[in-house]
């Protein structure tokens, strides 16, 4: 188990280096004047230029720039500075991220509860009405692009029915509900289908037959023996999904005007604020890698066969 952990953690390092290099070069190295990119749409004075060039080591070879930037990130947790907004990217990030986090957690809770319940129900009543219902509704939800879903629910629940606030964070927790549902909808569909398939598959296994032959109650056969195996891939999927959600629910935040990390990223793109774009993307990668690591460890805990390879 220990060796597995160490190995997984070590693997993260080259991945992080590779991903950060790509992000960095995409942000700073592609053709165009990187300095004016910092200014966004405003022209910069000569003095500002010089300060910037020094600050970001733009007079140095690219690789040094990259190394310098990365050492700032890793050693000082400094993601740079947004010239446009005259604040450190770190500050902007920690303002925005908690909102994304709350949204992601709420969505995760919804997707877990409803998704698992629907999936298990569909699997146990395979072929019957509830199964078909779950299959069809999940297929439909998945085929409607997120932003369409977001709009539609905004119009219907927010405007027409007036149940939920349409946008912004003005009403505290309530304002998170509708976007969380929209966010959860897509993932929920996948969780339900995955749970259903996995459970149906698992119930066909030989060890389920053995459990029955042991005279165990059906609830124990399904609950203890079936689910314990069937949920392994589902838990893994949910974990990855949470990682992705935390990377910024870009579309949902944009439509519902939630000032989270995704929203800030889109704004930064619009205003050509490269420091934020690169910095936030890097943050998303770091979060993703950390959560993936946790998921892998969780997987080893759940499935003893993995521990001993």
């Amino acid at each position: 188990m220990f060796r597995y952990t160490v190995r997984r953690t070590l693997l993260m390092i080259p991945t992080f280096i590779g991903a950060s290099a790509i992000i960095f070069f995409a942000g700073f190295a592609l053709p165009g004047d990187p300095v004016s990119a910092f200014g966004g749409e405003r022209a910069l004075s000569e003095a500002t230029r010089q300060v910037l060039e020094e600050r970001y080591r733009l007079d140095q070879p690219l690789i040094n720039q990259y190394l310098g930037y990365m050492s700032d990130v890793v050693l000082h947790q400094d993601l740079g500075e947004s010239v446009l907004r005259r604040r450190s990217v770190n500050d902007i990030f920690w303002d925005a991220f908690p909102n994304t986090f709350r949204l992601a957690m709420l969505a995760a809770a919804i997707e877990i509860v409803i998704g698992l319940a629907a999936g298990v129900l569909a699997a146990l009543r395979k072929g019957k009405f509830i199964d078909q219902l779950v299959l069809i509704s999940t297929t439909l939800v998945v085929s409607i692009p997120v932003f369409v879903l977001a709009f539609a629910s905004q119009i219907y629940f927010g405007v027409e029915l007036g149940i939920f606030p349409i946008a912004g964070l003005n009403e505290g927790l309530k304002s998170y509900l509708l976007p969380a549902f929209v966010l959860a909808a897509l993932s929920l569909a996948y969780v339900a289908r995955l749970t259903r398939t996995s459970l149906v598959e698992t119930m066909r296994s030989d060890y389920i037959r053995t459990a029955q032959a042991k005279g165990l109650r059906p609830s124990r056969v399904i609950g203890r023996h079936g689910l314990r195996n069937a949920l392994i891939p589902v838990v893994t999927y949910i974990g990855i999904d949470i990682a992705v959600l935390m990377g910024g629910a870009i579309v949902t935040e944009t439509v519902f005007n939630i000032p989270g990390a995704g929203f800030a990223l889109v704004r930064a793109i619009g205003t050509r604020d490269n420091a934020i774009v690169v910095g936030f993307t890097l943050a998303a990668v770091i979060i993703f890698l950390l959560v993936s690591l946790l998921i892998d460890l969780l997987y080893a805990v759940l499935d003893p066969r993995i521990r001993y390879e």
Binding site: T15, G18, F147, V251, T281
Partner: protein, 324 residues
């Protein structure tokens, strides 16, 4: 009694022929039966026919939009827009009517024509991206899975790196940088989506290649002297490609949705390109007054994506050996 004497000779001859061809007869028979079985299974399912219908509809729409636009009384050119009609009345943001079946948009363009022509972008990008990603993914995944060792290490690390960057974010990042001043076109979007789309396909294919490699029939083929390339193409490919095909079919729908999302966010296609995503983007601030601007492209988009998802599901069911 005399059959007793002939039979063993016939059997021996067959064995020799099989051995000479590197066990190919069996492999080809097996592969052929897999696919013809799959096709038969596919034809049986009503989901397949719905999917085929939807995809057929939208692909035709993409290929020959003129056919669909022809019956419309309004102008047949989606780019021919005027804010004012001949008699001076304003033509923009009209509700659907018998003249303009889907109404008009902010510039006075006939929305029906625009929505029909919008199919082209979606279908081309959907299929194009998957073709590109599929090619790269199958090649690299196959090499990684089949040869293992350093190839596998290298390719898998590379896949890990690309995986670590969230898809949408990566696409936004790169598209943002590429020619944002109006030069960004179909090709750019296709390239970026393709480059970030191949890792999943390669991972899937690599896994099934590794699984197929371990099968007995591969060992048998090797024992009669089949070369690596032959084994890869004749024996492993037909059997390992199924999950990749299922995923790719579903992914076409995903790519179409992704392009729409990117255009919606402003980093995908730009005007004057005709894309459903762009149309939805333009519609968002005026949902209450002109809902039709949102509704029609949304429906077309959703149905297109739905078509590919259903097809993927149907293909998966048809190729699943256990359901047969």
């Amino acid at each position: 009694m005399s059959d007793d004497l002939i039979e063993p000779h016939v059997e021996r001859a067959e064995t020799i022929v099989e051995a000479e061809s590197g066990g190919d007869i069996e492999a080809i028979e097996r592969a052929a039966s897999l696919w013809s079985d799959a096709w038969r299974e596919l034809r049986k399912r009503w989901i397949f026919w719905i999917a085929a219908g939807l995809i057929g509809l939208f692909t035709t729409m993409a290929a020959v939009p003129q056919v669909f636009v022809a019956p419309s009384p309004a102008t047949h050119d989606p780019r021919e827009c005027s804010l004012r009609a001949a008699d001076g009345t304003f033509q923009d943001r009209l509700r659907p009517s018998s003249e303009h079946w889907f109404g008009t948009d902010l510039q006075g363009c006939d929305y029906y024509a625009r929505v029909i022509y919008g199919a082209r972008v979606s279908i081309v990008i959907g299929i194009g991206v998957i073709a590109l990603a599929g090619l790269i993914g199958l090649a690299l995944g196959g090499i990684a899975g089949f040869y293992g060792g350093w190839f596998d290490n290298l390719i898998s690390r590379f896949v890990d790196v690309l995986f670590a960057i969230p898809f949408l974010v990566a696409a936004i990042l790169f598209l943002n940088v590429i020619a944002s001043d109006g030069g960004r076109g179909l090709g750019h979007v296709l390239l970026v989506l393709g480059v970030f789309g191949w890792p999943t396909i390669s991972r899937l294919f690599r896994a099934s290649v590794i699984q197929a490699k371990a099968q007995d029939y591969v060992e048998a083929a090797r024992a009669v002297g089949a070369s690596n390339m032959r084994i890869l193409i004749r024996h492993i490919l037909p059997n390992a490609i199924a999950p990749a095909i299922v995923y790719s079919t579903i992914a076409i729908g995903g790519v179409i949705a992704a392009e729409a999302t990117l255009s919606f966010l402003g980093v995908g296609l730009q005007l004057p390109a005709i894309s459903w995503g762009l149309m939805i983007n333009n519609a968002q601030t005026r949902i209450l007054t002109t809902p039709h601007l949102l509704i029609f492209p949304s429906i077309f988009l959703s149905l297109t994506v739905l078509g590919f998802l259903l097809l993927g599901d149907a293909v998966r069911d048809a190729l699943d050996p256990r359901l047969r």
